[in-house]
């Protein structure tokens, strides 16, 4: 390393909270660019293990020109804090769930819409069909999509069995305060949920203020909600999305070949992570069943009622999160996919 590039590298290191061009100046001089990445996922999760392997691979392929610096486990605050810090240039990248995505590009939350998807294949089909629209939505808000990392299908976990929308009305069900999607879903079936911050859920389950929550199976275990509930409803409320994004401002400073390397490595590895998450949610469900939690199914009539509620909930979010045209496209794409599938059978 020449003296000059050493100086530059030092400058990059020192500019911890400072201007973006210091932290990321991947140019012909050989200086290093560092992507500061934050997530709520703690060390030891597959999400963080995947990010670390992305870092190693990107470093290798760019001969050390590009790499990551990690803040795992919410060390930079919650997702809203992360978005704020990325805007201020203190961070460049994040692993987000729907909460953060809603702050960044609300229209993308169509993917979280209630009672929309029936299984992972439908999810993949719609994500694929609308990929460019979503990427454009991120770009318009200053972000580049590095990969989807869904949280998975969210189920209702409760202390009384749920088999229909009717049953849900009898529950004291939690809703994440400020989560428009869940609010719309519950409103559509006439349920009055109890809005609470997510950090209050455990205590409130214990005191009986609430007796039902919604979450993906793996998250329910990570949050230790499974310990305080007895039933899992088999009809998922929604498929909770998630994505790894990098600020466009930083991305644009990278030389084109490094941009390509970053995109390619991330897309590949995050796709694998996504598959792994699905398998783990399956495994979590069987672990929970083995521990004595009961799965409750819905009758065909109840399923129809959910579908109807889904349509009305999704319409109620038009204008607030996404335009009518996006909703129409998603529903049409899905209807076509289902029709084709039925025909094949």
């Amino acid at each position: 390393m020449t003296c000059f590039s050493l100086l530059l590298a030092l400058a990059a290191g020192i500019g911890a909270d400072a201007p973006l061009h210091c932290a990321a100046s991947g140019d012909a001089s050989g200086a290093r660019a560092q992507i500061k990445f934050a997530t709520l996922a703690p060390e030891g999760t597959n999400a963080m293990k995947t990010m670390q392997s992305i870092d190693a691979e990107v470093k290798k392929q760019t001969s050390g020109r590009l790499g990551f610096k990690f803040y795992a486990g919410g060390r930079q605050g919650d997702e809203k804090d992360m978005v704020r810090k990325i805007r201020a240039g203190q961070l460049h990248s994040g692993g987000f769930t729907g909460v953060g995505l809603g702050e960044i590009a609300p229209e993308v939350r169509i993917l979280d819409a209630p009672w929309l998807f029936k299984d992972a294949k439908e999810v993949d089909h719609v994500y694929g069909a609308l990929a460019q629209d979503f990427e454009r939505a991120f770009a318009a808000n200053g972000y580049v999509l590095l990969g989807w990392t869904e949280v998975g299908f969210a189920h209702v976990f409760s202390n009384a069995p749920v088999r229909s929308p009717q049953d849900m009305k009898t529950l004291k069900i939690w809703v994440w305060e400020g989560d428009p999607i869940a609010e719309a879903a519950f409103k559509a079936i006439g349920v009055h949920p109890i809005p609470l911050s997510i950090t209050d859920v455990n205590t409130s389950l214990q005191t009986g203020l609430i007796n039902a929550v919604y979450s993906s199976p793996l998250y329910a275990m990570a949050l230790q909600w499974h310990e305080k509930t007895k039933y899992i409803h088999s009809v998922p409320l929604a498929n909770a999305s998630g994505a790894v994004l990098v600020s466009k401002k930083l991305f644009d400073t990278l030389p084109p070949q490094d941009q390509q390397i970053l995109l390619k490595v991330c897309r590949e590895k995050l796709k694998t992570l996504n598959e792994l998450t699905r398998q783990e949610n399956e495994k979590a469900l069987s672990t929970l069943k083995a521990q004595g939690m009961k799965m409750t199914d819905a009758s065909p009539d109840a399923v129809k009622a959910y579908e109807e509620a889904g349509r009305s909930a999704r319409r109620s979010l038009v204008g607030r999160l996404y335009p009518q045209t996006t909703l129409d496209r998603v529903e049409r794409t899905l209807a076509e996919y289902r029709a084709k599938k039925t025909k094949k059978k």
Binding site: L40, P42, A222, T287
Partner: protein, 285 residues
Amino acid sequence: MRAHAIVLLALMTAGCSLKSVALRTTGSLLRTGSAAYHTEADPALAKDAMPGQLKLLESLLQSSPDDPRLLSALAEGYVGYSFLFLEDEAPERAKGLYRRAADYGMRLLGRKKRFRGLDRMRPEELDTALKGAGRGDVPALYWTAYALAGWANLDMNDPEALAALPRAARMMGRVLELDPGFQFGGPDIFFGVYYGVRPRIAGGDPEKSKAHFDAALSRGGGRYLTAGLLCAKYYAATVLDEALFRNLLKSVLEAPADALPEARLANEVAKLKAKKLLEKTDDLF
């Protein structure tokens, strides 16, 4: 050689089987042997010697699968080996060996009826079982809880590990009530890590983490260096307090290694880890 043969013969005619002699000798060896590890000043020597010792214990366990001294030494030994020498460099192996330690710990606890099937109990059943625990159960509960949490922290996506973690916390909570000074304040160190490592939404709580680390640090007068090391790693780094991070690690590095002879090995290893962690400061802040 001949003398040995004579002794052996005498023992056999006295109705002792070779196995039980071996075991009886092992019993006292386990006590002095474990002390020999704790006071070891050369971590490299301990690192090389421990696996052989653990395998020896496992072979003895085969002929005496219910022996509490063996089960206890194995649970503690595999936790110690995983924490001291594997966790940072070979997390995949550490995961497996923490799990093995937890299995031995469960077997040890399972010798008492109230703890049987501990890994399938609902939270309220576990609380009831733990209420009946006494001071004599502390080592078994401590090493089992430590092993379960060690495994879970390295594999936060494994549903089984996730299910084991709240159980570990309940067990350690009971140890904290029964004997907070066990293993130089180990229960407080456990909760310092437990509340420090996870985000708030998943029950993490930096204030609680700090309170537990403070309790552990003041308990040993700072002589048990693992407390300072883990406080830097799991509290100071979590709240992005770089000055505290550096100070804690500096005091670990500057402390005399022989300040606590009965924890010499742990302290020597804490110094090595502190040095490595300090070198990683720029990656963390």
